[in-house]
Structure formats: structure tokens, C-alpha cells
Amino acid sequence: MKSMKWMVPLVASVLVISGCSQMQQSATGSGATAGGQQTYGQQAADPATTGNRLATGSAVGVNTGGAGTAARSTSSFGGATGSFGDGRGNLVGGIGGSSTSTIGRDGVGDGFGSAGGSGLSGTDNRLGGPGNYKVTDLNDPASILSRRVIYFAYDQSTIEPEYFEILDAHSELLASNPNLTIRLEGHADERGSREYNVALSERRAQSVKQFMDLKGVGSEQSQTVAYGEELPLDPGHDEAAWSKNRRVEIKYIGR
């Protein structure tokens, strides 16, 4: 499980970094300047880059710092200006409160380790205007924001790439609406002992929270609840049911 724990920051950091490099690419391509807008659904569009980032990302735990290839550009943090690859790990240092957040690659990993990423830039840290999404979109069944369940593989708490787009959308909405709050409800399938499953489901909820925190959602905007196997969506006893039950549900509070 230790290796799995490492996977969480690793995968998320790859995601963040690759997301950013996407932005860089699109910014370069279009000649646009920093706009605080993120390109969705292309995280894996450039396998070479992603692979590359994965390799750098794996340095997360060992505080390798050195300058990366990612250029300074808009970050995916809801529009905050960020510089990558200077290795100072300001996420940990708590400089996140300043208007420029410097994300070292080591910082990404350590930010995860600090339980909830409280050092992550506050909501006042976003220079960008409101994103594409409005709060009223939450009531629109056609909006991607109507998709609020993230599913997981057996005994895993890493977020599958297919859910990045959904989580990006929710993150952007939340980041640009600091008064919005959510509850991330983690669940497990019925196999194994109940309290262990509670712990496993909390890990899942935490990985979604950490993903969102890194996307600029205020740490205080989301809380996690671990239900274990207590509230199955599908009461069946086969993989078809289990795969629906291993999930995190995003619940907007008061809506």
C-alpha cells in the first residue's frame, strides 16, 4: 500500500504538470497570453510530454528540484501565475498566500503530504476572472458539472485519467466561487472488513480533495466523509455492482 500512497501525489502531480504544459502549448500555439483558462480533456494528448513528466514527477518524493523543461506560464490553478521547476517547493513553505505561487516539483509531492494542502494558495490568490462555469450550471443536466461521481479500481485510490475532465470542471467552478462548498463522500465495495473499507474510502475521498486543492480549490471548501461499504449504490454481489460502489460522490452543500 505504501507504493499506492505514493501513486496519489505522483499521478496528481503528473496531471497538474502535464495540464500546465498543455496550457503552455496551447498558449504558444494560439499566441494567447495568460488567461486563467484551462484546456480540458487533453492531459494525455501528448504522450511524450506526459511520459516525460511522469519521469520528472517521480522525483517528487526526493526533492530533486532542478529546473524542469516546463516554461513559466499560466498554471492550472484557476488562473494564478505560477513558475515551474525552480525547485523551491513553496507549496510546502506556505508562500502560497502570495499572489505568485511557485510550484516546485518537489513541492507538489510535499503539498500532498501535508494533509489537505493547507499551504496551498488561498482563494485570494487567483488573478484570473471567473471560469467558464457558473453556479447555475450545477442545475443543468447537460453540463459536465452534473457528473459528480468518480469511480475507482479495486483496492485503489488513484484517480483514473478519464475523470480529470469532470474534476477540472468542478475545481474551476469551486475555485472561482470560494463560497461554494462540497462534501466528498468516499465509498468502497463490500469485500473485506468494514472498518478497513472506511479507511480505504477515505483515501479515495482524500485523493479527490487533493486533486481539487491543487487545482486552486480552497482547502476549506471541501470536506471528506468516509462511508466505507455502508452505502452501496448497487446492492448486488458481483463486479458489475462493486465497480459502481467504489466511488467518490461530489455533493454540493446547501444545493
Partner: protein, 418 residues
């Protein structure tokens, strides 16, 4: 087989006899009758106490029950019996009983000597079935040389309703054979992980009634209830210390699930573990010195043991990729083990390596040992429904407890009643 059927019919009669008084009784079905152990015959007793005693002794896996009908004509308590007829019974012991104003009298007669070996008077109690359970405890203790654990209780969780918003969770306390169930808590939100206090008067459990998990203690007689832990994150897996003053539990308030000991008198939390892994499902050893718990610090959930005052954990289980949810009585540890894709109940001796798997389901969980360690109750599934099973530690005898009204889960066996 014949004996099995006879026991079945007696149980059926009993079920009918008590059906009117307690609609929510668990329905007891014997799925495996011991054909080993001490052969014993319980002569018919007025009021059917013999059937309760038979069922109790059978559950222990230490007796071979000979049909009571064979002793019909020698059932009179205190009456002399011919040694020749005694020998015809095919049992080592004959038990006879009588109801009096004062309670229930039972005697144990050796069929070899024809002499009364021992006799007992069980004083009257409001719960009539307890008289028979107490008699069974006396017989068990006399013949097996271990304290009987039939006059004990179970706490368990029932769930009714399929859709999430329709579900009703109840915490029940019943006799150890599923009779006389009483609701101690009803909730629309999940209720989990009941644990007995060592005097059998209180239960600690996890409730989501506030939306987030919190740990409560509740007196089963007065209903008085107290929230003892509602920290941020997980509040789970309470386990009462043998001295009654502390709860071991799992909290994620510091970031990931760690073990803590909560002193109930002053609400002080002491953290025991410090790992990046999941640490949960603590259970005290009976001397109160150690805690056995589940951790995936080695990559997979395994059992570990550590001093209850803190210190470094030592790994307990090495076989298999999934061992969890330990319950400890004396030197016995019952736990969940993954066996070729199925989750089953295993029992091992503390300090030894081997374990024996005593259940055969696919989703068996929540094992809880009787206070004398001779039986284990656990949750299983039968026909897609949650039921309870009781199996003797030697695997010889097995029974299932069905709920007529929904799923039953998370049984916990009480300590000896006082």
C-alpha cells in the same frame, strides 16, 4: 443425520412457540451438527428447556447430542434409573431437569456409574430462556472444564430498505441464540462497529446520524447515550478496554487513519501509531496490555500487535494477502482472511503461526468470539442477504441466524453476563 433432523424439528417447535412473543427474533437454522465430542442426552423437560440446552451444547462443537426422545421414560428428575437402561441410551451422560417455583433444577447422571455426578439450581429470571442457557453453562463447565458462554448476548446491526433514502438501521441486543431481541438504536443513517463494554452494560458504536461519523457509548438498559468522539475525518472501530475506562479507536484527524486510546473519564486522546498507512480495527488483549489491529503498512492489510501504551508494532499474520478485523479472547484471535478470492473467518493462537479457516462463505466478516473462545459469530451472506453464523472454534458445529426483516450484520458477542 437423524439427530440433525430431530434437532431441526425441536428448533422449529421452539420457533413456533416463541414466534408470537417476539416478531423480530432471528430465525435459527442448524447447518452443521457436531458428530464428535461427548455423547449426551438431555431428557425432555416441561416447557421445552431441554431443546434450548441441546441447541446450546451442540453449538459448542464439543458434544454429540443424542435424541432426547430416547430418554422419555427416564425423564423424572431425581428418580432412580436402571443401569442397564442407562447404558442403552448410547450417551455418556443423561441430563434431567424440573421446573419449580424457584427456577430450574438440573442433574447430570453418568450412564457408566448410574450415579448423579452433579446437580444445579438455577434461580428464576424474567427471561425464561436464560434459565436453560444457565443450565447449559453449568453442564458445559462441569463436563468440558471451561466456563460456559451460552447465557450471553449478541449485539448486531440490521438494515431494512433497499434504496439509500429508505434504509433504516437498527442496533439490536439479543440472547446469544438470537432470541429476545431488543432495539437499542434506530437510525436513518449507517450504524457500525458495535463493541461491548467488559461488564456487558454498555455498547460503543459508530453512527453517521450527524452526517459525519461519530462514536457513541450507550447503556443498553437505560438507553443513556453519550457522544465520545466526533473529530474531523474518520471516527471508527471502537474497542472497549478490559478495565472499562478506555476505548481504542481509529481516527484520521491527523491526516490518515491512526490508532488512539480515548480515556472516557476525561476525554483525553492518546495517539498510538504513527505511519502513513491505514491503522484501524484495534482490539485489546484480555490482560489490557496489548492491542491487535489491522494495518496496511506492509503493503497489504495484515494484523499487528503493539503495547496498549504505545511502542513499535510487531506483525502477527504472514500468510495470505488480506488479514483483518481481529477479535481476541484469551490466546485466540479470530479474524478475516482472504482465501482464494473469498473472505473467510480464520482462528489462530496468539504467538503461533498457523491459522484454521472455520467459515466457507465468500463475504464472511466481523468475527466475534464467545467470551470462552469456543465459538465465533460472524456476518455472512446467504441468498444475497446478510445473515449471521455461529461456528465452533473446532468447526464441528455451525448455525445460521436469519432475520425475517432484512440484512443482519456486524455481530459482537458480549462478555459473560454479571
Amino acid at each position: 443425520m437423524k439427530i440433525n433432523n430431530l434437532i431441526r424439528s425441536f428448533v422449529l417447535l421452539l420457533t413456533l412457540a416463541f414466534a408470537g412473543s417476539a416478531w423480530a427474533d432471528l430465525e435459527l437454522r442448524i447447518s452443521k451438527t457436531s458428530d464428535r465430542g461427548i455423547p449426551i442426552v438431555i431428557a425432555p423437560m416441561p416447557g421445552g428447556a431441554h431443546a434450548i440446552i441441546e441447541a446450546d451444547l451442540n453449538r459448542s462443537g464439543r458434544f454429540q447430542i443424542v435424541s432426547s426422545s430416547r430418554a422419555t421414560n427416564m425423564a423424572t428428575f431425581g428418580a432412580a434409573v436402571e443401569p442397564a437402561r442407562l447404558k442403552m441410551l448410547g450417551a455418556a451422560f443423561l441430563v434431567r431437569g424440573r421446573r419449580t417455583e424457584a427456577g430450574l433444577d438440573v442433574e447430570i447422571i453418568s450412564t457408566v456409574t448410574g450415579q448423579r455426578d452433579s446437580s444445579y439450581r438455577i434461580g428464576n429470571l424474567a427471561n425464561q430462556r436464560r434459565l436453560a442457557h444457565k443450565a447449559a453453562d453449568k453442564i458445559f463447565e462441569y463436563l468440558v472444564k471451561l466456563k460456559g458462554a451460552f447465557d450471553t448476548r449478541l449485539v448486531y446491526v440490521t438494515v431494512e430498505g433497499r434504496a439509500v433514502e429508505q434504509r433504516v438501521y437498527r442496533l439490536y441486543v439479543a440472547d446469544a441464540d438470537g432470541y429476545n431481541p431488543k432495539v437499542v438504536l434506530t437510525s436513518r443513517k449507517p450504524v457500525m462497529s458495535p463493541s461491548w463494554s467488559y461488564d456487558g452494560s454498555q455498547i460503543a458504536y459508530v453512527s453517521f446520524e450527524r452526517g459525519t461519523p461519530a462514536i457513541f457509548t450507550q447503556n443498553i438498559f437505560t438507553g443513556e447515550k453519550r457522544m465520545v468522539s466526533a473529530r474531523r475525518g474518520i471516527n471508527g472501530a471502537p474497542s472497549w478496554s478490559p478495565n472499562g475506562q478506555q476505548l481504542a479507536l481509529s481516527l484520521s484527524v491527523d491526516g490518515n487513519p491512526e490508532l488512539y486510546v480515548l480515556t472516557l473519564a476525561n476525554g483525553a486522546f492518546k495517539r498510538l501509531t504513527n505511519s502513513r498507512a491505514i491503522d484501524t480495527e484495534p482490539n485489546w488483549t484480555q490482560d489490557g496490555r496489548s492491542i491487535i489491529f489491522t494495518s496496511d503498512r506492509g503493503g497489504r492489510p495484515q494484523l499487528y500487535e503493539m503495547p496498549a501504551t504505545g511502542g513499535s508494532p510487531k506483525r502477527v499474520t504472514y500468510d495470505g494477502t488480506y488479514n483483518s478485523a481481529a477479535d481476541v479472547v484469551d490466546n485466540k484471535i479470530a479474524f478475516v482472511r482472504r482465501v482464494s478470492g473469498a473472505f473467510r473467518i480464520a482462528i489462530m493462537e496468539r504467538g503461533r503461526q498457523g491459522a484454521s479457516v472455520v467459515s466457507d462463505g465468500r463475504f464472511d466478516e466481523s468475527p466475534s468470539l464467545a467470551p470462552n473462545g469456543t465459538m465465533v459469530v460472524y456476518a455472512t451472506q446467504n441468498g444475497g442477504r446478510g445473515t449471521l453464523s455461529v461456528v465452533s472454534d473446532n468447526g464441528y458445529a455451525k448455525q445460521e441466524l436469519f432475520s425475517p426483516g432484512g440484512d443482519v450484520r456486524e455481530p459482537a458477542w458480549s462478555p459473560y453476563l454479571r
